[in-house]
């Protein structure tokens, strides 16, 4: 790996994660670097812990009480360049700040029951931006950034609930992109969409990586190989292998990775 020019934005270190009431950890000592302006794909059979790992990275898990983390998830401080462990964050406003820096897109599109404009403006308003002119500009910029401006510019006041699934998903991406996060986490963002919408989302993800680092869970091998720079293969809560995507797909070092990629299990 030509690691010299790669900068880590996040790094998962010896992470154990246990769901409330579960007898044993779901994540069993994971290690994973996330490199700046790269796309990292998480693959593995259903139930192996991909979503669980992704959801630890912006601590969305903490919405539900009673879970335990052990280990570290470092996030680079943009100003000082130092890595800081996000598992140390305790106060609600610290977590809010974390989620503005590390956004998330879900499997099913999650438009809010409000207008297209208000969907995008919502996160910005939460950040305290009130000026109408400034909001207008940022909303337009975000919708353009998510390649959905042309379709929406004449119906910004319409409800987002009336859009197609693919449009809703791009709106959700616009909504997150508007906050200019450092990292964006995607949890199977296209598995509920048709092939054309999937293509549009994939194009969009490749486009935004110049500004935003991406981690994406996918069960679609083609998607992982088309889209990502790095791939990690997970199995039963363990990270089996992490490498450049090309290496993982052409010449994996673990037998299990090869078996999974060639469709022998999973």
């Amino acid at each position: 790996m030509a690691n010299s020019e790669l900068k880590k934005v996040m790094e998962v270190k010896d992470l154990f994660f246990t769901y409330p009431g579960a007898p044993e950890p779901t994540l069993k000592g994971n290690n994973l670097p996330i490199y700046e302006n790269k796309i990292t794909a998480l693959i593995g059979p259903s139930g192996c812990g991909k979503s669980t790992l992704l959801r630890a990275m912006n601590r969305i898990h903490d919405l539900y009480p009673g879970l335990t983390y052990k280990g570290k998830i470092d996030l680079r401080n943009q100003e000082t360049g130092k890595m800081e462990n996000i598992l140390d964050l305790k106060k609600e406003n610290e977590l809010i700040n974390l989620r503005q820096r590390v956004g998330m897109i879900f499997q099913k599109p999650t438009p809010f029951p409000m207008s297209i404009y208000d969907n995008v403006a919502y996160g910005l308003k939460l950040q305290g931006i009130k000026n109408k002119g400034e909001l207008d500009g940022l909303v337009e910029e975000a919708l353009k950034g998510a390649a959905i401006w042309k379709e929406t510019k004449d119906r910004l006041k319409d409800s987002a609930m009336g859009m197609s699934g693919g449009q809703q998903q791009r709106l959700c991406i616009a909504r997150s992109v508007a906050l200019k996060p450092e990292v964006l986490l995607f949890d199977e963002p296209t598995s509920a969409l048709d092939p054309i919408s999937t293509g549009a989302i994939e194009e969009l993800i490749s486009e935004i990586k110049k500004d935003i680092t991406v981690a994406i869970v996918t069960h679609n091998m083609q998607q992982a190989s088309r889209l990502s720079d790095f791939t990690t293969f997970m199995y039963l809560g363990d990270i089996i292998e992490f490498d450049e995507t090309e290496k993982i797909f052409l010449n994996p070092s673990q037998k299990m990775t090869e078996d999974y990629i060639t469709g022998r299990f999973g």
């Binding site: 912006n58 969305i60 998330m104 879900f106 029951p113 919502y122």
Partner: protein, 269 residues
Amino acid sequence: MNRLLLNKIVLILSTVSAFIGIGFLFWILITLTYKGLAGVHFETFTKDLVEGGIRNLLVGQFTMALMATLVAVPLGVLAGIYLREYGHGSKFASVIRTLSDVMTSAPSIVIGVFVFAILVDPFGGYNGWAGIVALAIMMLPIIIGTTDNMLALVPKELREAGIALGGSKHKIILQIVLQAAKVGVTTGILLSFARIIGETAPLLFTSANNQFFTMDLTGQFPSLTVSIYNLATYPDEASRNLAWAASFILTAIVLFINLTGRYFTRNKH
């Protein structure tokens, strides 16, 4: 063969039962319309009970019901939010939820007696406030229950999406989750209103009744339902006719509110 015969019997029995039910319903509605309409005149709405009209009764009944709504809606919606969004399977929340469910079927006369004991007896007499409190107590569990159930229908991904955009839990609940459940919650409020607008028992020994127009909630307060109850037992024709007219108007109002509520739910789902 046997199965087919059984099928036929069940079909016939259920059709007959349905017709009996519908028959009674129409009987009631037709009698009510027939007897009620005869007593409805323009003056019925412009005169007070002392002069043989129901103006003060309508105003009184709606005043108490609306005030009760003002009390019960914020309390009920907040309690429903607590149960669904913050209680999280806690023991306390499940006790409250059960209590609220039980309260939904509490006999209204019992609520009336309870309020009599705490707001009428100690304060020296029947008063409008006591009636308002009794009605609010009746509405509360219905509103708590529908809010709780409607919030449960909002997918958890919507909450997570809000949190992932950097929202605090309470903002996401109030601005997004409640918004998504708005139609259901509003319908619940409307139906609970329809439920209490026609109640007599909670008012009978709380606000009682008043023949005159008044807006003074510290004294006896005019009520349409209590008046119907009283008038129907009077021997004279005029009183009984007025009772019919009042019943007809009350039924029309309740029906209208119910249908509006149903219309909203239908459009949503």
